[in-house]
Symmetry: C2
Subunit: 300 residues, 2 copies
Amino acid sequence: MAIANVTIVGLGLIGSSIARAVGERLPLVTVTGHDASADVREQARALGLCDRIADDAADAVAAADLVILAVPVGRMADAARVMAPGLKADAIISDVGSSKAGVADALAKALPDHIVIPAHPVAGTENSGPAAGFATLFEGRWCIVTPGADASADAVATLGGFWEALGAKVETMDPVHHDMVLAVTSHLPHLIAYTIVGTASELEEVTESEVIKYSAGGFRDFTRIAASDPVMWRDVFLANKDAVLATLQRFNEDLTVLQQAIRRGDADKLEDWFTRTRAIRRSIIAEGQDDAAPDFGRKH
Amino acid sequence: MAIANVTIVGLGLIGSSIARAVGERLPLVTVTGHDASADVREQARALGLCDRIADDAADAVAAADLVILAVPVGRMADAARVMAPGLKADAIISDVGSSKAGVADALAKALPDHIVIPAHPVAGTENSGPAAGFATLFEGRWCIVTPGADASADAVATLGGFWEALGAKVETMDPVHHDMVLAVTSHLPHLIAYTIVGTASELEEVTESEVIKYSAGGFRDFTRIAASDPVMWRDVFLANKDAVLATLQRFNEDLTVLQQAIRRGDADKLEDWFTRTRAIRRSIIAEGQDDAAPDFGRKH
């Protein structure tokens, strides 16, 4: 299947990055953008983000062969419903949400007569909004596609080819397994980071000013992901509640083990644990998902 | 007081960075290096790290006006004892340990007749060893000096001036307060990162290969600090046990609150919390302890 027209609904960090990436890498594809916020649409126009920014959702998708919903996961169903009247019968509808089982259900219900193939590009930054996006965001990152049992192989291949054209690597996965994998690799890390940054800012014994001054000792790294979009993350935790709570329980068990090792002065247990975790980092660098340059004293 | 000769004991990341920084910024100061490991001494010689690398600790410090112990905090007392016979009577002895109250006691006992002024440069990277150091590591970072009640103002000013010459900003603090501040800004973040990386690598439902592939969703940031030196960090947790366990308890309380909010679907509580933590990051950037460039899709 050929894609001549793409519509992006939601022009924040991810949506605007897709628009930019299509503009650079697929110059023959026409990109239409829409956002429910008039302010965001205005910013998108000022940035020259798409070939056209449409004020109306149904109008925005009228010519689309592929529609990508790039809105918080709690807003997917509503976004799908308002655009539904404008959709072509054979358009592929996809999304970029960080949880997939709930989104797949919501989109299937909102668009029972359309081709829905949920997807999740595992990429992002701590910044939000249409100005925060950039064309290379997906390069070398994985995009996980979670087609339902009834999705045609042709449509799945078309969506996968689109993401590969933007520089991503594509993997197909069951949506429930996706949600467990991302609970570990993304949702739990964000929850922990949000927690510790909150804890540090409310201690009586240490002032917030001290926390900020001496943050280069490690705390700083957590503030980066704890600065991610609050509404997006609120929705992710609500949508992926079960998997997040399950992995959180495992984390709590491990934290209790280390807490006890510290209390008892069990030096060997601590050293063994810390040696094991070092190996994981080497694998991440080898897989190209991070680089080896030391980053604590970072200068860009 | 003038410093013509500096000796660095321990030539890992921090010690070798001090050697490089002195070489670049204080070319008239003679630097002698020593490490208990013959292998590290050999590497240091091959790297041309100091004016001289001494095989014997007492010999290494014989001419020193300032000695800096850059060894894991559990080894400070032993390192002090073996060099003690070589020390000049008026030499200033300092260190770079990440916990201060215990180190101050240990050094005071090991060197009862010498001028001991503990210090902690809040800087580092996830890499270890003599090859990992670099001259700019301390630029713009804070060095916390924790002098005892009997330390002369002159000696404290000399040590502070040395760190300022390496590019650091200097603050004086009570050692017990230092340990509480660093428990929050450095030790707890490392403990949490070590925990979550361990948790993620041992789940039955998600393979280690999946954790590595999809780490760009947030997990990756934790692996960076969980790759820090295992022996150094084992010693930090044992040396600063009380403050670490106290802040860990506060973290656990907060995590329980967020866990409950997720379980109950309390969207407002989550969004409020995530909005509050975003502000801390802005302050850290404003204070120059991190930069604003988005780093999730990092390329150096």
